[in-house]
Structures are given as structure tokens and as C-alpha cells.
Amino acid sequence: MRALILLLSAVVLILAALIVYPALAGGTGGATASTGRLFDATRLITDARAGESATYRDERGETWTFKVEMAVPGGPERPPRIRIWSIRRDRSGDPLPGGTEVYEHRPTRHGLYPLMAPADPEGYDRVWIWSRIRWAAVSWQGKPRELWRVDLIDPALPEAGGADHVVAWLDESVPVFGLVRWQRRDRTWELVDWSPR
């Protein structure tokens, strides 16, 4: 009888501890609890500052540079505006014909990614549409990293065979759009140079 009492006492104490401890530790009972990584879009194009730039190179050796010429931060009544200057050069460093553009990036209309039709900034149907956001492993600069992978649709490209699919890799510490790499159609653009954020 006494052994049974001792055993049941131990059971009661253990159950009580299991119930009370998580509650004290704040692990149960709350209506909500954060469970994962934060995708912080405020640290991408929205907080770009004048002077920062990022240069990308593709497999052909062509480069594409984005530079923030001017940035007007947003306020309660005024959305942010960022004046982007971009230039594309061939593998020998000469500017490509028609490869220099200046446009005002308006995150409320153009979103988080570069406008592929800067000559037509009112062509809002040219903005990329996000289809999936995930935190994923990638190899960058020869090292395994984890970055934001955003899968997108480019309405300017043909739908057939998924040709309109764009994959972008993002890191909040990278200047201008936060882009580390993006694959559009058959080309992959890799970040090769940047000036500080």
C-alpha cells in the first residue's frame, strides 16, 4: 500500500510539473506565438539611400548596374520614391545600345523588384508577380548560404513552358533591391560588386 502511495505521489508531482513548467516558461496558453523567420521587406528597396549601387554579371560576361540617384523616404502621407539609374555593358565594359535607363521606382506601384520596362514606368502590367517566398539554401561565392528565394512571374515573358518564371535570391544587407542573384529566362545575374548600404 505504501509503495503504491509513493508511486502515485511521484506521478502527481511529475504531472503537476509538466503542466506548470511550460506555462511558467510561456510556452502554452497564448493565442499566438511567433514561430519563424521574419521577411523584412522594409530593408529592401524601400529604405534605399542615394549613392548605393549593385552590379550583376551574367554567363555571357555582360554586366548590369543599378544605382540609387536619389531617394525620398516615405512618410505617413507620402510613399517612398527612389530614382534608379541603370546601365548594361558588354563583356568588354562598353555600354550596350539603349542599355542606360533612369526611372523613378515607386514601391507602391512597382513593388520590390526592378522594373523590367523602365522606359515605360506607367506600364504597371510589367511588374513581376510573386508566386512563392521561402527561406532556402543556395551556393553563393562558393559557399553554402541561406537566403530568401522568391519565385516570380514576369508577365512580359511568354507563359508557354513556364518561360515567364523568374527566381530571385535576396539578402537584406545587399544594396538597392537586396538582390543577390536572379534568373530570368535563360540568364542568371549574379551580384559581383556593390557600394555600401
Binding site: A16, I19, S34, G74, R132, W135
Partner: protein, 215 residues
């Protein structure tokens, strides 16, 4: 001092034993049945798909605002549904025009059934066209908004825990306020579970509940 009688000792032990058995049963019931429904599950991987891209014609959700309880709206995906290439879509839908130069959108119709009628029973009522920018996480079309953050979160809904992504958006303009949207890729229409916005003196909340599919 006299030794306790074996009879009295045996009775005390039985009472203690009964108490311990009862306590074990109660605590066991609390631990194995009550707490699991409140326990926060383990973290899930961040992997969010755009709910609007999977919207199908006829999908419907019931919307209720906490500021006007009892007044229900029915939001149903209508033609032309998901428009990825507005240049090839209609020029006008309801009060929206110039849509061939619009950002990609999802088209829906909003109806208000009379009290006591469900969304399924109100299909013939007049509807107002509502559009959702495919990049704006379920925010109504036409507002000047930017995305602030997205984070995975467990929320209580109907007595159970539901995994959602909480999206924070900033709206610019005279109102200049913050919006929070709980979204899930499996929820119909725009994927919204709950939408909140800051208003003077508090928060206005809309609850979205699946309301069947009329097609």
C-alpha cells in the same frame, strides 16, 4: 505515547491513496486532453505561396467586421478571375476602368445577403466588383501600400491553432495607417483569414470564413 492502531493507519492510507488516484486522473486529463489543444506546435519552415494565384471562379468567403457585427459580406471570385496580363484583359470592370494599364489583379464580387441568408443563398444579389493586387497580399486594389514584413505565426481560430503568415503593410495617404493580414495559401479567394487595420482609438478587424464554392 501509544502506537497508532493498525485499523486507523489503514484507513488513512486508503484515504490518501484515493486522493492520489483522483489527483492523478485529474492532472492526467489536463495534461493529455486539455493542454494539447493549447500547446503551440513546432515551428514550420517559411514557405509561402501566393494564395491569389490559385483562386478559382466561384470560390467564396464570408466576411464580417467586428465594428458591424451581424452584417455579413460574401466575396466570390468572378470573371475574369486571376489576370496576370492586364493588357489582354478587360478595359473595365464595375467601378474600375483603365484596367489594361493596371497592375496584375484578382477579380471578385462582393454581395451583402439579407440577415439570415447564407452566401450560397445570395448568388443572385447585385454585386460590387472588388479587385486585389496580386502583389499586395489581399489588400484592396487602389490603395497606396508597401509591404513591411511577413512572419509565420500560429493563431487561435475556432478553438484550434492555425498556421498563418502575418503580413504587415503600410498604407500612405490621409489615413496613413498600418494593416495586418493573416493569410494562408489554402484559404479561398485572396487567402485571407483575418484583416486588421489601425484606426483612431483602436483596431478594426475583418474575419474571413470559407463559404463554399458555387461552381
Amino acid at each position: 505515547m501509544a502506537a497508532p492502531s493498525p485499523r486507523g493507519s489503514g484507513l488513512t492510507e486508503r484515504v490518501v491513496l484515493l486522493f492520489l488516484v483522483a489527483a492523478s486522473l485529474v492532472l492526467g486529463w489536463i495534461y493529455f486532453h486539455v493542454l494539447p489543444s493549447e500547446r503551440v506546435p513546432e515551428a514550420l519552415v517559411f514557405n509561402l505561396e501566393n494564395p491569389m494565384l490559385g483562386a478559382r471562379l466561384g470560390e467564396c468567403v464570408q466576411i464580417e467586421s467586428t465594428t458591424t457585427p451581424g452584417i455579413v459580406g460574401c466575396l466570390e471570385v468572378r470573371e475574369p478571375g486571376v489576370v496576370l496580363r492586364p493588357r489582354n484583359g478587360p478595359e473595365r470592370l464595375g467601378r474600375f476602368h483603365g484596367l489594361r494599364m493596371a497592375r496584375p489583379y484578382l477579380a471578385a464580387g462582393l454581395r451583402q445577403p439579407p440577415p439570415g441568408k447564407s452566401c450560397e443563398e445570395s448568388g443572385d444579389l447585385r454585386e460590387d466588383v472588388e479587385l486585389f493586387d496580386l502583389n499586395a497580399f489581399g489588400m484592396p486594389y487602389g490603395l497606396d501600400v508597401t509591404l513591411d514584413t511577413v512572419r509565420p505565426l500560429w493563431v487561435q481560430r475556432g478553438g484550434r491553432l492555425l498556421f498563418v503568415y502575418e503580413v504587415q503593410m503600410t498604407e500612405y495617404g490621409a489615413a496613413g495607417r498600418t494593416w495586418f493580414l493573416d493569410i494562408h495559401p489554402d484559404e479561398p479567394v485572396a487567402g485571407i483569414v483575418r484583416r486588421r487595420r489601425t484606426v483612431e482609438g483602436g483596431t478594426e478587424t475583418w474575419i474571413f470564413l470559407p463559404a463554399g464554392d458555387r461552381r
